[in-house]
Amino acid sequence: MDVEHLILRVVVKTLFAPIILFGLYVQFHGDYGPGGGFQAGVIIAVAFILHALVFGLDATKKAVPETVLKWLMAFGVLLFAGTGVATMLLGGGYLGYTEIAPQSTHHAGQHYGILIVELGVGIAVAATMLMIFYNFVGREPEIDPEDW
């Protein structure tokens, strides 16, 4: 059994879930504090990159295959653009979120719209960043520790 970089492995394994959790917090708390889809997407991508750096690219690719990433990249952008189309079908302008809940007295339509759109940004950014990382690192799968 390979026990190289044992401390790093333990630390990354412990930190992986909290990093994802923090990313989700940043994602869905963007209305109330600093953060939003872009930062959250990057943070979640970083969690997987950390995993790949310590456990190897193949282990991460087993968890998140490239095919899935390819679809998620497009899905994020389509979620954003599709929200605009949906608001148009509801009778408003492109990305006019008020039409999502026109009867609301506390701008619930705007809140839903921002939440959905930010989710699209987060998914697109996370998938794209991870895809770029896969492509760069995938070209040299065997990294000699001496090379760093």
Binding site: P34, V46, I49, L95, H107, I132, F133
Partner: protein
């Protein structure tokens, strides 16, 4: 006193030439720690940038660029731009450092020494540009000046209208996702396109189950040209 006003007063002490109102001495005294922090951060930025220029060890340069981004993020926090600082820390210090490392793995570990040739031209260009930029900052409004174009015009409108229109506590999010939703859609598309370009250039041909693209060894090209030359020779012979 509100933190914004504190920082505004601090900025006025840093750039007295641009200040509109006279900063009171009492205010200057209470804000001196923030000024000291900002000056220290700027000095550290200069030191890190200089070391990056001088170092030929690419691994060290990549790590220093991460530190540079982290210092920039701290500076943004001191300027009260928390959202920008967050992005800078996550993207600049986090992911771009890793991507630079991954890029470094594909090339050499040490930078080749630069050939001295046009150094005077470059030096003059840099000094002239820098002097022009410093000259331009003299005309800039003081930091946090409420009468500056950025704060008095559309910025003020966003601050006033967000509670009525959108009712979201973070005005930055309201501007990004709702008022300027088209811009953000464009930015997301840019990120998506960048990912697509990397996929096409570095070749995950296997995305649809096809074969992965691999670099040909250099001697493969030579063999091809030799074969081509031979074919030409044959054609000439006939």
């Amino acid at each position: 006193m509100a933190p914004n006003a504190l920082i505004a007063a601090a900025a006025e002490t840093v750039a007295p030439a641009a200040s509109n109102g006279a900063a009171e001495t009492a205010e200057t005294l209470t804000t001196s720690p923030i000024v000291a922090l900002e000056v220290a951060l700027l000095f550290m930025l200069i030191i890190v940038a200089y070391v990056m220029l001088k170092s030929r060890h690419l691994f060290a340069v990549v790590m220093l660029s991460g530190i540079y981004s982290l210092l920039t993020a701290s500076f943004f926090v001191a300027l009260d731009a928390v959202d920008v600082a967050f992005t800078e820390a996550a993207v600049g210090a986090g992911i771009s450092t890793v991507l630079m490392l991954a890029g470094m793995l594909l090339t050499a570990r040490r930078e080749k020494p630069a050939t001295p040739g046009r150094a005077p031209v470059a030096l003059v260009t840099v000094i002239l540009t820098g002097a022009a930029l410093v000259y331009a900052t003299i005309d800039m409004p003081a930091f946090g000046d409420r009468y500056s174009p950025a704060n008095a015009g559309v910025g003020q409108t966003y601050v006033e209208r967000t509670p009525k229109d959108i009712d979201v506590p973070n005005i930055v999010t309201a501007v990004l996702a709702s008022y300027r939703g088209f811009d953000t859609l464009g930015e997301t598309t840019v990120v998506f396109t960048a990912g697509l370009a990397v996929m096409l250039l570095l070749g995950v041909g296997a995305a649809r189950g096809g074969r992965a693209v691999a670099d040909r060894p250099p001697d493969g090209d030579d063999a091809e040209t030799e074969a081509g030359a031979q074919r030409e020779g044959d054609a000439g012979g006939r």
